[in-house]
Amino acid sequence: MMEQVIDVLSWILLTSGGIFVLIGGVGALRLPNFYTRTHAASVTDTMATFLVLGGIMLQAGLSIATIKLVAILVFLLLTGPTASYALANAALLSGMKPETEAKSSDKGHTK
């Protein structure tokens, strides 16, 4: 009984995590320029990470694997924003001005 509850709960977390990954992807496509797209990427970075790793932790139970998953979570949360900052700062330093009005003409700069 208890196992089934945990199983269902973990699948709910995993599925909603997948949905948030999808939302991040949709956002990265829909938003108009580089700086706004980084915001969509951080949805995938945070919410989806929490949900997917939370779901896997429930599957792993109280074991050494869960400790490793917590470590993965901490490292993702520490390195994710560092990478975002490096990307955004590189864009800024190479002369891309963050526009206060959204424009859709600079799709070529997103990579």
């Binding site: 948030f20 939302i23 949709v26 956002g27 829909r30 938003l31 108009p32 700086y35 706004t36 980084t38 915001h39 969509a40 951080s42 949805v43 970075d45 945070t46 919410m47 929490f50 050494i64 400790i67 490793k68 470590a71 949360l77 520490l78 994710g80 924003p81 560092t82 975002s84 900052y85 955004a88 700062n89 864009a91 800024l92 963050p98 526009e99 206060t100 009005e101 959204a102």
Partner: protein, 167 residues
């Protein structure tokens, strides 16, 4: 023991605490307790401390006393992240895409480099706000909406980070 002053001399106690933390982390992650593996682990812990010492990690006064305050900070940050995730998700899924990109510049309350790095990363971590530049204690932040920018200025993340690292 001179742990209270911002001494340029590294502190033996801090180094020992870090060694214990590293050893505990290593033991938890490896899960193998054979002599050879434990020997390799001990060697890598010592090497890590040596390298950290050489890059001046132990000269920073804000390195060890911050740790007990981390859980509370992380919890508050977690709540913030969930809230702003819901906001950004709504914006992305809205057919009209109601964005109003705004740039704000704030004065970082924490004065040390570690505090400013934590502040910048915390702001980047919550969706809707990205730190794009840190220069001389001022953070340049790009926000997805005007409301997000106002919320960022109104919320106390700046003060919380200062409390985390400065005392």
């Amino acid at each position: 023991m001179q742990e209270n002053q911002r001494a340029s001399k590294p502190n033996i106690r801090v180094i020992l605490i870090w060694l214990v933390i590293l050893a505990a982390v290593w033991l938890l992650w490896s899960g193998l307790y054979k002599p050879l593996v434990i020997g390799l682990g001990a060697a890598s812990c010592l090497l890590t401390v040596l390298v950290a010492h050489r890059i001046g990690f132990f000269n920073e006064s804000t390195s060890i006393h911050v740790l007990p305050r981390m859980p509370r900070y992380w919890f508050q940050l977690f709540i913030d992240i969930i809230k702003s995730n819901i906001d950004v998700t709504r914006i992305i899924l809205d057919p009209k895409l109601p964005i109003s990109p705004t740039e704000v510049e704030i004065e970082a309350a924490p004065k040390g480099p570690i505090g400013q790095a934590i502040l910048g990363n915390s702001i980047t971590l919550s969706p809707g706000t990205v730190t794009i530049d840190v220069f001389e204690g001022r953070l340049r932040i790009h926000c997805l909406t005007k409301e997000g920018a106002e919320e960022l200025i109104a919320c106390d993340i700046n003060q919380r980070t200062a409390e985390l690292t400065e005392k």
